[in-house]
Symmetry: D2
Subunit: 317 residues, 4 copies
């Protein structure tokens, strides 16, 4: 193990890290985290429909892109701050945490006003000024693996964030580039147990970007939890054929609900639980730009990554 | 889907294929197949110890190399026909089917005299004379994916075998070559559900060669079954540190037994069962070079790949 | 060819683009461009020695990192603005243009004050805020290919810059990630003729990062020019064994001079010339932060990419 | 360098190996070798036209497939022994050596009766029984690099052949598998100088299979010779659009002749010569299945790989 894994290495902490969002969702604890929602926020209606559906099915974090990194400058680039507001509103209304991507170091402060977790996307895994900027913030970070990043490079990118003082980091495997076009990327499921050995940080899997094909998402999601993942990132769209981005890999609401029903026994097998359902939040929407839900307020005052459990270390046979 | 997937394509058969060895083990049916044993057959003692351990833990097929494809001509190359005899004896003694690799078209007939299943290794996935030779035989074939073969190339290699008249073919994912040295290969778990769509042939996973690190084998084995794999190929050695090949990725007998206990609930979750234990075979070893075990004799007379009704098609949500 | 290659596609311009630096160096014209210098600027002495040596050997652009993207946060990160000043001074003193990397959109303006060309590094090829920022500037851009970027993704990254209004862009092949550790990256020499078909933009090759081994740099540099490249980016350090970064792949001054002698006949074979030597500039160092050399002042007032020649199109047999 | 590079390593011989065919063509000597011809032998007429054209343009070895390894069993598989006879006849008639692929160890003896050099194709680089079989023969071998073989694996495959007693082996780079579909494979030009350091064996390049696009073949062929390659393997077809295989990457006869004219000055730059033209052989065709041309009979009696003093070692600057 490289000398420079100072802060991320497994033995830098006594217990595995549990990252906790203000909304109460945790990564690395007894509950797995289910982050679901559309690739891009397209409209209030689209987002509301998606948020309601994923909350009802049992997700605890809403994902959605406000700033979209797109290969072509002519593709839909996201709605920006308007989308951030919609995400915050929908998250509050449905008791969901909000995770969304930030691409520009100059946007970190703005996105932090609305989101509970900042996503660093695949293309920015080694965008060091951006890593330093989120390292200087105190909001949880979801660090996606680079398109062809080695595990070592990925952990050293995480080291940049922790070195900045931000210890609430979750690693997200989303498939790497491969020679085969049969799937969009090649999901490297081995990193789930491997990272459990190498680091104290939680690890989640994004099967949607890995597969690129909606039908393949559920079996791979199930396998990821069976392998010990701390959560999932799933693209869900109310109307995939008409999505402005990533329609082919998005589950519709019914398919997502079916997946959630399949996940319960697998989570149990893996010694974990699905997120507890937030009841009766529909009637008490937040009114502020950011308002932690009442029943989570105790946790919200704790440092984001303070809560620890030691159950993770035993999952590797 | 290419025009040339004539025989392998999913809709070329009404039901998914179930491949049955003379020993009674099946691939693609209700039971998952557990093929376990040493990388290379090194001695009678080593093999006996491995065979007994894997049989006791619940495996139903013994794997072991008699002819070893080795990157260097100076590495251990296998014991050849002597190893084939040992495999047959150990298989009979413990009620296990025998799968072993054949590398040379001139060896197919000889290996067929001893083995229940011929393995075509990664390096030979596109060795077309060898594919034609095993296609002309009537013994089940385990076709490993090439080191950087696309799914399409893999299925077309299988097409060579089926076109020769041999319909008893099982595909084996064993990881593909990648840029990251963190694991030996990169296990492409997505092919499990993908192949279930594309072909009627069963699919098993070899996590040992994919990982190259014994500790990572169990979680990935579990994930493979959760994703719907029809079986596993696991390297087990009584004394991994002193193995002549692949010691680093071999489970010892205790670790394999622990894995088998973990697999039972996952198999059930996936709508499958572990292989039924063969009892009381230790006291009635076979005496001939190849003697189907009595309780399997009915099956032995059936065509090896008789199409059976199976629940496989519904596993993909 | 994708619809979205609107501005970069070959037929978007009548003639291939010639990118011209204020210093007079051109990319895509009759002269090939030779950018040479240390990986990172380490001290005034190191840079002066390198700059003098590469100028004497016939380079026309000085390369050197002020802001270094490093995999580990504990590695040398560059001297920042201090290094920019040293680069400007050394460039002026030796009649060399200056190219240096910019990693942060907030640094673009500052770097532009000192450099003649902004390098977008491999890790930032799809850093879209950064691409937009350099697209809004009017200084030539060197866009390195991403670590595993397809040619299509690379051209679409260039499209972001051109769409911003900055048409002075040079593409730089520096090797892609591969499964083989024999060299640091895998140089994709085919992109040189391929890009000549697809785009009007000039293409240079960086054999230093591609090889990672100094001994392999000269033959690959020669091959690149033979294949039609418009220039080279070569790491040269006065004392490679003691370099703070990339020592193993840096030529020492003598090896660089030897390479330049070999390049002359190859350039001629390819219908090109080496850069014309700037004489007598040593005695008239610039004093301002940025002072175009007198004999280049005519060009400096022209739009950076206005000068065109039509000789490039015929090099592909 | 691995211990097991016993016979292939550079310092296992005093001088670089020069491999000589019975026809007189050499690999690794002062002349570069130009092997050209169709992907597959389709008919007497097609082959005759191709052979005459490549001989007139200056090639010295005729390439053509009699046994074709094809991804699909439904693709054209080659004409077998009939094609071998045609190759021999055309080679004799035009003073060309003959290189053709052998895929099956049982075919080695038959192919040896007709060919001057046995090609081991990409898919068979680690077909160890085949390597042993050609190692036991005394006919020169052309060993193509595997689709994703490391340089180390490639050299160890060569070691199998040399260990069998056959020292006349030429390595052929033909591109490796990559994530980008812009070209068929990714030509690894760095192996040319790298292998010159690591081994005494000659190295040639096959730009046709690397590119998959005929227009890109000439610039890459030129670059390969500039980098120090000992020869080229080029697909040439009299009528590429109607070729039964590899039409898209085949040069027509005029394009090949144009390439040969471009190669002369590059070869000279690299300190080499194009093959000397064989004159007046058209009027004296061979009549036997294998008849060394009269003017080559002296060489034919020499050991095929007699070690010759060569300037190769100094080409790496």
């Amino acid at each position: 193990m490289p000398q420079s894994y100072r802060l991320v290495r497994r033995d830098a902490r006594r217990e595995p890290t549990v990252v906790r969002l203000k909304s109460g969702a945790t990564f690395g604890g007894d509950e797995i985290a289910i982050c679901a929602g559309p690739c891009g926020v397209e409209s209030k209606e689209q987002l509301e429909e998606a948020a309601r559906a994923v909350a009802e099915a049992g997700a605890n974090v809403l994902r959605g892109g406000a700033y979209k990194p797109r290969t072509s400058p002519y593709s839909f680039q996201g709605l920006g701050e308007e989308a951030l507001k919609m995400l915050r509103d929908a998250g509050d209304r449905h008791g969901l945490g909000v995770v969304t991507e930030v691409m520009d170091p100059r946007d970190v402060e703005r996105v932090t006003q609305y989101a509970d977790m900042l996503q660093i996307g695949t293309r920015n895994m080694q965008n060091f000024p951006l890593l330093r900027e989120v390292g200087a913030s105190r909001i949880p970070v979801l660090l996606k693996r680079g398109l062809s990043a080695t595990v070592q490079e990925w952990l050293l990118a995480a080291e940049y964030v922790l070195l900045g003082g931000n210890e609430s980091l979750v690693l997200c495997e989303r498939g790497v580039r491969s020679f085969d076009v049969a799937t969009r990327n090649l999901l490297d499921i081995a990193v789930v147990p491997l990272l459990e050995e190498l680091t104290h940080l939680p690890v989640v899997v994004d099967p949607s970007h890995a597969m690129g094909i909606a039908r393949l998402v559920p079996p791979v999601a199930v396998a990821s939890i069976a392998a010990g993942a701390d959560g999932l990132l799933i693209e869900v769209h109310p109307d995939p054929p008409n999505a402005l981005s990533d329609g082919a890999q998005s589950l519709d609401c019914a398919a997502f609900a079916a997946l959630m029903r399949r996940l319960a026994p697998v989570a149990e097998f893996a010694g974990r639980k699905l997120p507890k359902r937030n009841v009766a939040v529909d009637g008490a929407p937040g009114t502020s730009a950011y308002r932690p839900l009442p029943e989570k307020s105790d946790n919200a005052s704790k440092p984001a990554s303070a809560v620890r459990s030691s159950s993770r270390g035993v999952r590797l046979a």
